[in-house]
Each structure stands twice: as structure tokens, then as C-alpha cells.
Symmetry: C2
Subunit: 552 residues, 2 copies
């Protein structure tokens, strides 16, 4: 086995022949990896949750997306009175829950002589319940929106919605009933599910309340996304993406420590990689494990290596790391395929042949970010190799890192401004500074200057989503800018909490609450894995986040 | 046991004391009767049915309710092409089916990365698919309408609609999908259920084709309504009503011969009767057997006795008949409670204290019909008593029949016109003639005159629904008017077939196709038990219906 791996490692780095061999190797391993993924599949922990209050939805320009939920009465007022007189009520579970919703119906007058028809709308945030879904203008499937029409043929009844739901609020409307009887809706509940079981350690008492709050909301976010894979969001898209896996596993390493889940995901992705051995950005568990065919997402494929390295570092599970090492090594061939004689990644070609993500931000030029991420991946994979005593398999990597770093500095760094520029338009963006800083291409001083200067640069493209904000905070810390890192977490994630977040959102632009990559903000996910990473920062860097805030 | 029954039989006929005793007796027997009902519960026979063609719905003033379904292509054209390109298609099962619908979804391009959302609308007749249901104006629950909204979280998938459906046509609309994949809908099927198992004997070859057709549609109607009770309609209300039971069991006696089903229903009604021992017009099986509290429907309670007599006559099952005899005898107390010294039923009081149904016909005065039905019930119950050698328990009945018949003739019969008149307005209706003829109050000659004269009477209230048309045909046969009976079946039920009926309808007024007792014609039932009785007439009276039609 070891011999094969070594033999492959050479072949992987050499054009066509390596692709053929990789195909053979993957074909032989795929079922093993999938079997190991299945073995590591966690049991879901079930908890019954119940709403505690009814709320009124109030239009309010000062509230997030224009709506707030104001506590009206205890939920018992719902259960005790005829439902007919309360048509359209909204119950509040008081927290984000992911699971299976049930309710009971009891006749309160007359005999039920006809079915009842309900519409239940589940919202993670108040605006989802107040914004009409139809006619639907979103770019994603309308079916992601969580409004369910349910016919109940007999009363009394216990009704369970088959679909798993993710929500805090439920609006319940009566669409059909008989005049010959009245009824009550009682005991609404949700069998909440998560594979997170361990209770994370408490933060140091001295931790500022705001960071305690941010940590709590981050843990909630992560817990909700931890199912039988690391999901990106329990409402949408409910599946494993490499980028989300990476960030979730970072946070998990410092909180729930569900390492089996990380292991499962690493194996699942390996088992479902493309025929050429390149990883596919996202995979599905149901009805049986399968990849999103052709979904080659370069930055995510590369980050798999970093996730594997972090997994090994947290668990010392060398068996898994060795087992998956050929996968990590194969991903380096992506870099080899696009790096040019001058040390720069062929951005134009890569952009044509792969999806380069990096952020939800219209018009973002990703040349510099890609260069940075490629260098970072090489470095991290080399660290992984060293931990496994396999650095001899990556003999060419150290020189490649040097060459690519130098090329990045020479071609993308503007010494006069102190900032990186991307693409033919020499675009100035946070993404470019962030990834070149994380790549360690610049000195600490240069990194600080780049990250400080861009804050003063008008029209610089700032991050569009929490995903890139994560790397921003990491870059700030890497550059020794602890205060700014702290401020960013405080302002950005703290900002979501100020606006009512129970879980952190997929998309949050403080300047545009209605921003949606899908052209319809209610279809955004408001509990999204990649937003949970303050948990990681606050717990990994206690000296930064768990000490009193300086006066600013 | 026998002694108790006898003792009760005396008490039943004497006011308050009898009520108290009846309560005791029923309390002791109710669980026995319910247990016997449960024991007689039939297994459902399952058959997989599939649509054969796609149809186009065409607005057409000449078609029933303005819509016709025109065959477009074989159903394979649906299965072979992308569903997306066929959104809104209508499949045709070619016959009325009652059961559980499934379909399969298969990805045809790309990878399913989002749920699908469908709306499926099930129609017994084409107009149900072409008439918007909302905003809903009907008097019954909107939930009876069979439009189901279904979210399918993963593809490929086999989807089964939980609700039992009754339909011939299905319109399928796609409400949500992802642009990243395409799919096909394949293998739509319905697990059709019925408790009718025996194959009725074939009609004599010489039977005119029209009566063969009417018999076939009647059998379909009955078969669809025969579930674990005789339902009134498999789409709506899906439950046991005494009036429907009576007519269905008549047709069953001459066709499927599922006598256990009749027995089950007779016991179920007995077990769920009111505390006073009076039968309740309708009962439910789910979630557990229970009556529609307070639904006292006088004509139906009385017809139970006739149904029991017919059951005994068809089966010779004296054990059941003896067991339920106290129930039948108790129903006679209803008549005793309302018959006045002059021999007339106290219509005003009865109409206040009970629901008197007889027909869906606005403004119908039911005094004469009630008098007729009361007399008929006394006669039939006396026949039942004789068959059980219990006529001594009904000593007062023969004289009561005479007295009430005489009172009917004296007070309600207009000798000059030869017709019965009802109520203070002396209303002329088919219902009055029909029930007084069936009661045998008039001579054959008088009966014929009444039934002939009303046909020539302008503004006479004619029957509103097939239920009363059944009694009309029976009255015609009783009066020896075979040709007219034949014509009525041919014109009325044959008329439905000419308008496209696969099963006979709950409501059919040849002069108003949109008539609905519920203010919205799509909520009418188009497969309704009480319309199936041509099966009974055609098979019981072969000399009338199974011989060549005379030239008319």
C-alpha cells in the first residue's frame, strides 16, 4: 500500500500518465473510502423543543429586513382557545431549531366531519414570514422555501411534517375547515436533531459579554449544521461543501470535538471525487451518496488539504491521514496544471475551466486570491507531509512555493500603494490582500500595511459574505493585528446579533440587508456553517478575544 | 337475552321509561356491536392502476360543465421527455380510481441539487382541473378539494401522496426546481383500493347496450364507494351514511354480494347510536369509530330498518338480524313520538327537532314524504318482524299503518288533481308522490295517475339529486309503470353517461350542470354511492331492463 502510494505520488506530478494512474487508484479505493464514511456516520441526537410564546410580526424600518417579532402572549393562549379564532398566528421557539415538526389537533366543539387544510410557513428570521413567496423571483428552487400545505383528513390527529425544517418561527394559517366543528391546535413540538453531543467548555469568566454572545450564537450555528455531514445550512442547501467542512471542522476542533464527523466528511469527499481524482466541491448523502457531477470548485478542492492537515493536528489520527494522503497529494496537481513558467497561476485558464468561488461578490477578480490560496495550500500540504514523514514525496514543493511567492510579489503587489492588485484591471479588493497575507508572501509589516491601507481605500471591494470575513480575521491575526481582528469579529458578527441573529447568516452585508446571491433574500440561509468561525477564533486565541476590550 | 328484548320491545313503545331502559340496553350492547363491526371489517383489495394517455383540457360549451378532456398523446411521451418542458400536463387513468398515488422522479441531466415542488390536482371530472379553487366560495371544507402541494427533497425519488384520492385525471404542475438539473417523471401509478372482490354476473346478452353501460358505470360507482364501510363518496365525504348504506346494500345484493360489509355497517351504526337508542345519520371510522354527535336524520334512521330487512332477505343471516332487532324496533319509537291522534306525523315538530333530508332541493316541503316514509318503515319493519317470528312484538303496528295511511289520504291527497300536496302551501312535488306511492297508500291506478299527472304539472318540484331519482324509479315500478321506469333510468343515468360520466354523480340536474348544494360545483362528489342503484333495478327487474327497448 505504501509502495503504491509512493509510486503514485511520482506519477501524480507528471501529466497524462498520472491521470490514468490516478483513475485506477481512485477506482480501487472509492468503495473503501465510502465504506469508511458510512462507518463514521454519527447518530443524530434528538431533543424535543417546544415554542414558548406567540409573537406579532411588526413592520419596523429599524429592524433587520424591516420586520420584528414582538412577544404577544404565552403559547398556552394558543392551545386553550379555538384555533379558528387565531388563524394566522406565529409561534416562536425562542431559538433556531432543525428537525421534524409535529402538532396535535383536538376537536373542541361538534364532530370533525371534514378535513382541515393548513399552510405552515417556517422562518429563520421574521421577514421570511412577512414576505410573500409568490410570484417567486429567486434563482434557486422555490422548493427551498419552507411553506408546507398540509391536509389533515381526521381529527383528533397528530400531524408530523415529513420534511426536515430549520426555523425559529412558524406561521400557521387555516386554509380549509368545516363549519360543523371547532378545534384546538395543541402541543406544537419539534424533534430537533444534531450530531453535536459534547458540551463545549465554558469560556473564561472574564471574556467580554459580547464575545460570549458571539461564541454562543456561533455554537448554535455550528450545532444546527452538524448533522450526518457538516451541512452548509440546515434550511438550504443541507449538504456537504468542502469550504464549509473546512471552517466547521476548525470550529468543531475547539468546541464539540466531533472528530468522527470530520473524518466521515473527508472520506465521503474522497470516495466521491472525480474520475481524475480531483475533489468535487459538493456532495450529497441522499438517496445515496453522490457528487454534484462536474462541480469542480478549485479553491474548495485545495482547502481539502488544509482541512485534512487540521484534522490530523487535532486528532493525531495518522491512519486516516495516511489513508487520505494520496487524495491531498492529487489536489496539488491542480496547482501544477495551472502554474506557469513565470510562477503565476494561469488565472484566465483556471477561471474558464473551474469555478473559483472565494466570495459572494459581484465583479470580484480572483487572480490574486487564487495565487495566494495556491501558495497557502502548498505550504499547508507540505506541513501535512512532514507530520506524516512524507515530505520526500513533495520534493519539488518548497521551490515551487518560493517561485510562486516571488511571482505574486513581482506581478501582483504594488509597492507604491502597498496593496495587491488583481487581474488586468488591477482591481483592489479585500480578497486579494487577505489571501496573499494568509499565504505569507509579505513581511508582517507589509501585511499590516496592505490590510490597513485597504480600509482607507475608497471603492475597494469589501467582503460580501461571512465566508471571506473568516479569512479576513485570519489574515489580521496572521499579520499581528489583534485589535483589528477583535474589532472585526465584534462589528461584523456582533452586528448580526444586534440585528437579532440567533444563528449566523449565510450572507450579511451591513450596508445591504437585502443582499441575496439568489435574487430573493428569503431564500438566503440564516443559519449557515461558514459563519460559525468566531467560535474558532474566540477559543483558539483567548489572549485576543477572552480578555477585556480595550477602550476604542 | 330474548326475554330482555321482549321486555324492551314493550317499553320502547311507551314514552320516558322506555328511553331510560333503552339507554341501559344500548350501554350494555354498544361494545359488543362495535366489536362485531370490527370483526366484519373487510380487507381492501389492491390493484395497481396506471394512466394511459395525456389529455388536453378544452373549454367547450357543449361539454359537461364547459370542459372536455381530449386525448393528446400516449403517457409514454410524458415519461420519455424532460418534465420541465411539460409542466402542467394532465394524465388520464381512463377510469375512476380510488387509492394512493405514487410517481417516480429520475434525474435526466445534471445532479439534483435542490428540492422540487409540485402541485398535483386530482379531478373526477375535467372541470375540476380547469376551475380555480381559490378564492374558495364553497360551504364545505376547502380541504376536500384534491390539490396537493408536495416538496420532494431528493431526486431520484419515489413519491407517494399520503392522502387517499379519488379521481380519473391528474394535473401536475412544477412550482419549484433548480436550473442545475433536469428530470423526468416516470411511472405514475395508483394503488387502487376497494373491498368489492366478487365479479358480478354478466347481464343477459340481449340487454340493450345503454343499460349495459349504465350497469357498468353503476358498478364502478359502487365498487369505488365500497371501502371498509359503504362510503357515500370516495372523494367526499368518505363516510358511512345510513341513506347511502341502504341504497348501496341494495345494489350490492344484486352484484358484488359483499354481505360482510353490509353487516359491518349495520353493527357500526348500532354501536354508535345516540344514548336514546336512535340512530345517528352518519358515523366515522377514524381515528376511531365515532358518530357525528347530534346528527339525527329522521328519514335515514327509519331506513335502517329497511336496510336490515333487505340484508336478512338477501343473506338469511338471522343471527345478525335478531341481534339488531332491538335497534330496528327502537327506531319505530321515532314514529310513535311524532304521530298525532289524527294519524298524521307532526311535521312541524319533527322538522324542528330532526334533520329531514329526502333530497337536495331548495324549498322542498317534506310533510307528505315523511308521512309516506313513516308508513313504509312500519310496513317494512313488520315484514322484518314476521321473518324473525317477532310480529307479536309489533302488535300495534298494523293498525297504526292503517290509521296513518288513511290520514295521509284524507289530509294530503287531492282527489281532484289526483296528486298529494304537502304542507300549508299545498306544495306539489315529486317527493310527495314518490313516497306516498312507495308507502302503498294509493291504489295502483291512483299511483299511476299521481305519477303521470305530476309530469304534466308546471312548476312541480322535481328531484334534485340521484338519491330521490332512485325512489322515483322504485315508485314507478311499484305503480306498474315499467316503461316510465325504464325511460327514467335511460334519460337520467343515461344522460350522465352521455355527458361523460365514468361514475355516477352526487348531484345531477339535467337543467343545471353547475348545481351544488355546497355553493361550488367542484366540491360536489362525482362518484357517489346513492347514484349507483340502476345496478339494483337492472339486475332485480330483468324483465324491465334486460329486454329490448320498445320503440318510443
Amino acid at each position: 500500500m505504501k509502495f503504491i502510494c509512493f509510486a503514485l505520488s511520482v506519477l501524480f506530478l507528471t501529466g497524462l500518465a498520472s491521470t490514468v494512474k490516478a483513475q485506477d487508484y481512485y477506482a480501487s479505493q472509492r468503495n473503501n473510502w465510502l465504506a469508511k464514511a458510512e462507518n463514521a456516520k454519527p447518530r443524530l441526537n434528538e431533543t424535543i423543543k417546544r415554542p414558548t410564546v406567540l409573537v406579532n410580526l411588526i413592520a419596523d424600518k429599524a429592524s433587520f429586513q424591516g420586520w420584528k417579532a414582538v412577544i404577544a402572549t404565552p403559547v398556552d393562549t394558543l392551545y386553550q382557545r379555538s384555533f379558528r379564532k387565531q388563524n394566522g398566528i406565529v409561534v416562536d421557539f425562542g431559538e433556531h431549531v432543525t428537525g421534524y415538526v409535529s402538532f396535535k389537533l383536538a376537536t373542541s366543539a361538534g364532530t370533525a366531519d371534514a378535513p382541515l387544510r393548513f399552510k405552515l410557513t417556517f422562518g429563520e428570521v421574521p421577514s421570511e414570514l412577512a414576505t410573500p413567496f409568490d410570484p417567486y423571483s429567486g434563482g434557486l428552487s422555490r422548493a427551498w422555501l419552507q411553506d408546507e400545505v398540509v391536509d389533515v383528513m381526521d381529527v383528533p390527529a397528530t400531524v408530523t411534517i415529513a420534511r426536515r425544517l430549520a426555523f425559529r418561527y412558524v406561521k400557521i394559517e387555516l386554509l380549509g375547515s368545516s363549519q360543523n366543528f371547532d378545534f384546538k391546535m395543541v402541543d406544537i413540538s419539534c424533534k430537533a436533531v444534531t450530531s453535536a453531543t459534547e458540551k463545549p467548555v465554558e469560556l473564561a469568566a472574564a471574556t467580554p459579554q459580547q464575545f460570549k454572545d458571539i461564541d454562543r450564537v456561533g455554537l448554535n450555528t455550528l450545532r444546527e449544521c452538524m448533522q450526518t455531514v457538516y451541512e452548509d445550512g440546515p434550511k438550504r442547501d443541507r449538504r456537504l461543501w468542502i469550504g464549509d467542512l473546512y471552517l466547521e471542522s476548525l470550529a468543531n476542533n475547539y468546541s464539540f470535538k466531533s472528530y468522527e464527523l470530520t473524518k466521515r466528511c473527508l472520506y465521503l469527499l474522497a470516495g466521491l471525487s472525480g474520475e481524475n481524482g480531483y475533489l468535487i466541491g459538493t456532495v450529497f448523502e441522499n438517496p445515496e451518496p453522490h457528487p454534484q457531477a462536474g462541480q469542480y470548485l478549485m479553491d474548495y478542492a485545495l482547502l481539502y488539504n488544509v482541512a485534512l492537515k487540521e484534522y490530523l493536528s487535532a486528532t493525531k489520527d495518522e491512519q486516516t491521514a495516511n489513508d487520505l494522503w494520496p487524495v491531498a497529494k492529487r489536489q496539488l496537481d491542480i496547482i501544477n496544471s495551472y502554474v506557469q513558467a513565470n510562477g503565476l497561476m494561469n488565472y484566465e485558464k483556471a477561471n474558464k475551466e473551474w469555478w473559483l468561488f472565494f466570495d459572494w461578490k459581484d465583479g470580484l477578480d480572483k487572480q490574486a486570491a487564487l495565487q495566494g490560496l495556491a501558495i497557502y495550500t502548498l505550504k499547508q500540504t507540505y506541513e501535512l507531509a512532514k507530520a506524516l514523514n512524507k515530505e520526500t514525496e513533495l520534493k519539488e514543493v518548497p521551490s515551487l512555493i518560493k517561485k510562486m511567492s516571488a511571482a505574486g510579489l513581482k506581478n501582483l503587489f504594488n509597492k507604491q500603494t502597498g496593496m495587491f492588485e488583481s487581474g488586468t484591471s488591477k482591481q483592489i479588493s479585500y480578497a486579494s490582500q487577505i489571501w496573499m497575507v494568509i499565504a505569507g508572501v509579505t513581511s508582517k509589516q507589509e501585511s499590516q500595511k496592505a490590510l490597513l491601507t485597504i480600509r482607507e481605500t475608497k471603492n475597494a471591494l469589501y467582503p460580501g459574505a461571512p465566508y471571506l470575513y473568516h479569512y479576513y480575521v485570519q489574515a489580521l491575526i496572521d499579520a499581528g493585528m489583534n485589535t483589528q481582528a477583535k474589532e472585526t469579529v465584534s462589528n461584523y458578527w456582533g452586528g448580526m446579533i444586534q440585528k437579532g441573529a440567533d444563528t449566523f447568516w449565510e450572507v450579511y452585508d451591513p450596508n445591504n440587508e437585502f443582499l441575496s446571491p439568489y435574487n430573493f433574500f428569503p431564500v438566503n440561509s440564516y443559519c449557515h456553517a461558514w459563519s460559525c468561525t468566531p467560535v474558532y477564533f474566540i477559543r483558539k486565541y483567548p489572549e485576543i478575544f477572552q480578555t477585556a476590550l480595550l477602550n476604542r
